[in-house]
Each structure stands twice: as C-alpha cells, then as structure tokens.
Symmetry: C2
Subunit: 184 residues, 2 copies
DNA sequence: CATCTCATGTAACTGGTTACATGATTCG
DNA sequence: CGAATCATGTAACCAGTTACATGAGATG
C-alpha cells in the first residue's frame, strides 16, 4: 500500500525520499506513515517496476539528492487504485482493548490508572488536530484556488481524526466510570 | 503481541492452536486477530521460550491434538504486560482515508459510490455487534458469577466496537453531504 | 457429490522495524 | 559543545500472509 501513498504525493510534484517522508509526517501521518528506510527501499522497487523515474541532483557540501518523478504508468496505477472501491472493512488491532479484555484479575486502581493515562494521550492528540494540523494544511494549501478540492479532502481527514479521538475519549470516560462503580 | 493474546486465552484453560483460533474469532477478532499458520508457529516459539508447555492427545479417526498449557513463567509475563500502562498511542492505518486524501481529480460520483459502499459495510458491522457478538459472549460467559469481571470487560470491548462503527458512519454521512454540496 | 469441520503443520514471501554507517552544516 | 537537519542507503530481523499438503467424517 505504501506505493500508492508515494505515487499520490509524487503526482503533485517530483520529490526525494527524504521530502516524501516530511510530507507524510506533516499530512497523512495519523492514518498513514512509514519509516525513511522503507520509503527508500520501496522507491527503488517502484523504479524497477517503471512506476517512477529518478535523477540525481548533485549538491555541494550536502549529500546529492535523488529526485523521483512519477511516470505515466505510475499515474495510471494510482488512478486505478483511487477508482476501485474498498469492498471489505480492514481489520484493526487495538492494543488497549486486547489488554483490557484479559484484565479481570488486575487490580482496580492499576486498571483505572491505565485508562486515565490513555485518555490523556487522546486528549493531547485531539488538541493537536484542532490546532497544529489545521494550520499546517492551510500553509501547504496557501490560497491557490486550483487545489480547492484537495483542501476539502484534506480537511475531511482531519475531521476523521477529531471524531476518532472524541470517540476514544468518550469510551474511556464510560469505562472509567464503569470500573469505578462495578469492578469489585 | 500475539503471544500476549495467546497467553491471555491459555490463562483460562489449556487449549489447542485450533481452539485458540476459534476463541479469537468469536471474541477478540474485531480488535485482535491472527491466522492459524501464525498461531501454530507462535505457539512453537513460545514453548521454546518456556511460556507454554504442550502435550499430544492421540485421537482415533481424527488428527491428534496438541494441547498447550500456560507455565508459571507465562503467567508472570502476562501479568507484567497487563500491569504495564501504554505510554504512547499506536499508529493506525486507514485505507479509505489514504485514498480519500489523494482523490481530488476523481469523478464526484465515483467518490460518492465509494463512500456509500463503505457506509454500508460499517452499518452491517454495527448490526453484528448489536446482536450476534453480544449473544456469543453471553454464551461463553454462561451464568457463572466467578467471571463477572471478565464479562464486564468483554462487554466494554463490544461497546468500543459499537462506538467506533457509529463514529465511522457519522463521518461518512458528513462527507457524503460535503462532497455532494461542495465538490465541483 | 461437494463442501465444511476437525486438526496439524511447513515454506515462501511481503511489509515493516531497528540498527548501523557516513558526514557537513546549522542552531541553541 | 552537543543536538538537530539534510540526505543517502544497507542488513538483519520480526510480524504477518498466502499457498501448499494431508485426510477422515459429517452435513447438505
């Protein structure tokens, strides 16, 4: 799947692996992320498959940059993927739920501490979405009307992040009360 | 992480890999799942580490069963994990958000079709949580008062599932309207 | 007659993480 | 003076998926 993320970014403009990582961290990170090492190896494979092409830009006093450009084949593959609907829900893994599921013998206060700590993490994340991320997207977007649609979609992903964090906090509040009252 | 799930189940009673898979599918599947092949190989590794022990039960007309039992070392490891709080949010990957993020050039109706299809999937899943899963847990639980705490926690995980699906549907409804009105 | 259930496993592969290595420049 | 930034990559490893293999009995 990472190849689609990389194609998606390269479809805006040519970039290096390093820059792709930065764009990801600033935009899709909360629903799609990758390490630099994986980005570099994936780009290499994509070039072999003919989805991207690269050119080395020599630099003085800095390492040379390898700039990747999407090919027509890459654009076609991206488009096909974007147009193909998802027909199944993807499985999720939730660490906390797994722990929670097996915690019947755990001390009440230990459990409550864990839930409150997790709630704090979600509250902090929520704050980030409500401030930072919105600003970051605005900056990337500038005021260019030609990417009006892009901005609409980007903001929708942040909206998802906000709803997700609010939902998590709601569940944690419910369970904290639930445990406080009935876990004896 | 799978080892903790397996330890958690084996802490209730000794079981075969095949049975572990069934219990998972009937209970934790929506927040933790694994294939049989992974379960078998993981159990083998766990035995080498001394977390579980196995014995073969010969059977006639059926393949022999290899029954795994948790060891004291395994119980201790499980307990330590359960008592250690999570200090960071785990990263998520959301296919649909990734596609959505790059879909500015996609046809409006194609996009709407995808969102409506996804909404249907979440609605169906929500129905499962509200009926089936609840019943399944009740069956597993029986009426034994000694697992009252377990049942409380198990129901809390279903509650999470319900809130998650409701949140997903809410976001999809919002975005369907958003696209219908402003995506031109 | 085909498919499902019971029950085990191995092998090849893909996706992703961690650690290692290099080296100049800039910032606090 | 130490840490962060720019910029590339490789190698070893771990987690998880897919496909293969076996074979009897029950269910529809």
């Amino acid at each position: 799947m990472l190849i689609y993320a990389l194609l998606g970014f390269l479809n805006y403009c040519p970039m290096t692996g390093y820059e792709l990582k930065q764009f990801m961290d600033d935009s899709t990170a909360f629903f799609w992320h990758a390490r630099l090492s994986q980005i570099y190896t994936t780009l290499k494979k994509m070039e072999v498959q003919g989805l991207v092409e690269s050119e080395v830009e020599p630099q003085e006093d800095r390492p040379d940059r390898r700039v990747y450009t999407i090919t027509e084949g890459g654009q076609q593959m991206l488009r096909e993927w974007l147009e193909t609907p998802l027909t199944e829900l993807q499985p999720h893994k939730e660490h906390l739920l797994l722990k929670f599921f097996f915690s019947a013998q755990i001390d009440k206060d230990t459990l409550l501490t864990q839930l409150r700590l997790k709630r704090k993490l979600h509250q902090d994340r929520l704050a980030v979405y409500q401030e930072d991320t919105h600003n970051t997207l605005q900056q990337i977007a500038g005021n260019s009307p030609e990417i009006k649609k892009d901005v609409l979609l980007w903001e929708a992903t942040i909206r998802y992040g906000i709803l997700f964090e609010e939902m998590s906090i709601k569940w944690l509040n419910e369970q904290i009360e639930n445990i406080e009252r009935h876990f004896d």
